[in-house]
């Protein structure tokens, strides 16, 4: 396969995984969310300011899939917050370092916005940002090996319960 066709394939793989990702979060199928990651995948939410300054703190900092499953268990069984839903709008995908077509990892970036709807019907643009993803294509299905969520703003309205 030539490089152009390979890139087209990669775009399709990452876009499909992101579509599944948004589908399970926005559809309140949170239990399926960790299954989109490898066992050892990391998931971290940070801000553009911290990211640019090299400051390591995460708003959520999951070091493996078990930690992601724990977060969903806590949301369902322990944490108290008003019912709310997200709607992700995710941009077209940009491949990073796309020249390395021999790798099992696709590095990609996509922009997103999330609209939050709360139980009383209020809607707000909750956050915007970008995903910096590494997608592992060595297995039977593509999975995130790393997902870094970089928020454009430092400000989080009220709370951030559901993953972004």
């Amino acid at each position: 396969m030539d490089v152009t066709a390979q890139h087209g394939l990669y775009h399709g793989i990452v876009s499909g995984l992101l579509a599944d990702y948004a589908h399970c979060i926005d559809g309140d199928d949170l239990e399926s969310w960790p299954a989109l990651f490898t066992d050892t995948a990391t998931y971290r939410i940070t801000t553009a300011f911290n990211h640019a300054q090299g400051l390591p703190i995460g708003i959520i900092d999951a070091r493996n899939r078990n930690m992601m499953e724990d977060r969903i268990t806590a949301l369902r069984k322990a944490n108290i917050y008003e019912p709310q839903r997200y709607r992700h709008i995710i941009s077209v995908v940009r491949l990073i370092d796309a020249a390395d077509v021999a790798s099992d990892i696709i590095q990609a970036e996509a922009s997103f916005i999330v609209v939050r709807t709360t139980i009383d019907g209020s809607q707000d643009l909750f956050v915007s940002g970008r995903y910096l993803d590494e997608v592992d294509i060595s297995g039977a299905r593509p999975l995130f090996a790393k997902k870094l969520v970089v928020l454009d703003s430092d400000k989080i309205d009220t709370l951030l319960a559901i993953p972004l």
Binding site: E69, A74, I80, L160
Partner: protein, 415 residues
């Protein structure tokens, strides 16, 4: 000064005590303006940041006292200075960046410029152009400096005050609070990162929430759900004489292991039916060597200094109007943290902040009070848990530190 009696009437206090708090204090515009004037711009110390955020001469940080924009700067001689972030000419913001380094501060509007002390050092076209225009002969630059702040720091934590008559910081805090601040700031610091939680409620509701140990095990169910709280915990609440500052702390009853870690005791939870799949989060290091795993400290009117295990945070409360509040979270560690400890702090940050396992509820619940305010005219809340006083207590089934807040508040607000 405004007529005091009218404020007393406005506030609907039913008595001189501290147990019946009028709800209108949370949504009255006149109260909000009075807080700015008497409380935030009055004889109080307000947190501005950390010394390590402005390490070099010319380094500055923009911040707030109440909702008033201010600048903290390290001068050429290495001392810290502060002033209101507002040009003396037409009142524009002088500094826009959160952090920066400047030899002088020059307003973008008409290029009036100031030195690190806030002295006006340059006025564009002061003498006019070709003999025409310019400032009058009696214009003196020394009459138009920036409004200066009093600055004091303790263990690298920097405070500012608009009031030259503010008491010395150590006197303001008292010995118990000073000791507890030093406890979590014992050596050079390192910032690990920032975020801001915006809240849809009056600033006092958040400050009261932080001072309220009564709700902790009721609202925040993370530890209960995962059966992590069966270890009996010892602790207490210290309220200073003014009432405005407090410390709430707890420690594990026994100090397990000989290596200063408390993993072994708590990891038992992992075998429970509802255990966490990744209990590494629950580990920790007894880094201050006293067994205290939780210390929440407040300084009146806007600082929260937090230790949750090894997660250390300075939280600054910034009012943004009568029903909006920003809480600025500055996560920190120490310059000499080893790799494992540095990583523990990041891992345990999952407990705190807007997405924190044991804190996310706070943002929502105080906004729920704000939303229920419309029907409260003339009504008061009930703050009677643990009596009607403001003494330090060992039990955490108490609202003593909330009453302490209102004691300090009523005094300085004169209502």
């Amino acid at each position: 000064m405004s007529d005091t009696s009218s404020y007393k009437a406005t506030a609907f206090w039913p008595n001189d005590g501290l147990t019946d708090v009028p709800y209108n204090l949370y949504d009255d515009e006149a109260i909000y303006l009075r807080e700015r004037e008497r409380l935030f711009m009055g004889p109080t110390w307000n947190v501005l940041g950390l010394e390590c955020e402005v390490p070099n001469p010319g380094d500055y940080k923009t911040s707030f006292i109440g909702d008033v924009p201010v600048v903290l700067v390290r001068a050429k001689d290495g001392t810290l200075r502060g002033f209101e972030n507002r040009c003396a000419h037409r009142g524009a913001l002088l500094c826009l960046e959160r952090f920066g380094n400047a030899r002088a501060f020059t307003c973008v509007y008409h290029a009036w410029s100031y030195d690190h002390d806030g002295n006006l050092t340059g006025v564009a076209f002061q003498n006019g152009v070709k003999g025409e225009g310019g400032m009058p002969d009696d214009f003196r630059r020394e009459d138009h400096g920036l409004r200066r702040l009093q600055i004091a720091s303790l263990s690298g934590l920097v405070f500012g005050s608009f009031d030259p008559a503010v008491p010395p910081l150590a006197d303001y805090l008292g010995p118990d609070i000073v000791g507890r601040i030093r406890r979590v700031l014992p050596k050079p610091l390192k910032v690990l990162g920032y975020y801001t939680q915006t809240m849809r409620n009056n600033w006092k509701l958040y400050f009261e929430n932080v001072k309220d140990p009564y709700h902790a095990s009721i609202l925040h169910l993370f530890f209960t759900t995962f059966r992590l709280n069966r270890l009996s915990q010892k602790g207490g609440i210290i309220v200073d004489d003014s009432g405005g500052h407090h410390v709430s702390y707890s420690k594990l009853d026994e100090k397990p292991g000989g290596d200063g870690d408390y993993n072994s005791a708590e990891l038992r939870a992992d075998t429970d039916e509802f255990g966490l799949k990744a209990p590494a989060l629950l580990g920790g290091r007894d880094e201050f060597d006293d067994g205290i795993t939780l210390q929440i400290l407040t300084v009146f009117p806007g600082l929260v200094l937090q230790q949750v295990r090894n997660s250390l945070v300075v939280r600054q409360i910034v009012p943004r109007g009568v029903d909006r509040t920003d809480v600025v979270w500055t996560n920190y560690g120490f310059a000499d943290d080893d790799e494992e400890l540095a990583d523990l702090r990041l891992l345990q940050a999952n407990f705190i902040g807007p997405a924190g396992y044991i804190s996310m509820e706070d943002g929502a619940v105080v906004a729920m009070i704000q939303r229920a305010l419309p029907g409260t005219k003339g009504d008061t809340s009930v703050v009677k848990m643990g009596g009607d006083g403001t003494a330090s207590q060992e039990s955490r089934a108490t609202e003593t530190s909330i009453r302490g807040f209102w004691k300090a508040y009523r005094k300085i607000m004169d209502i």
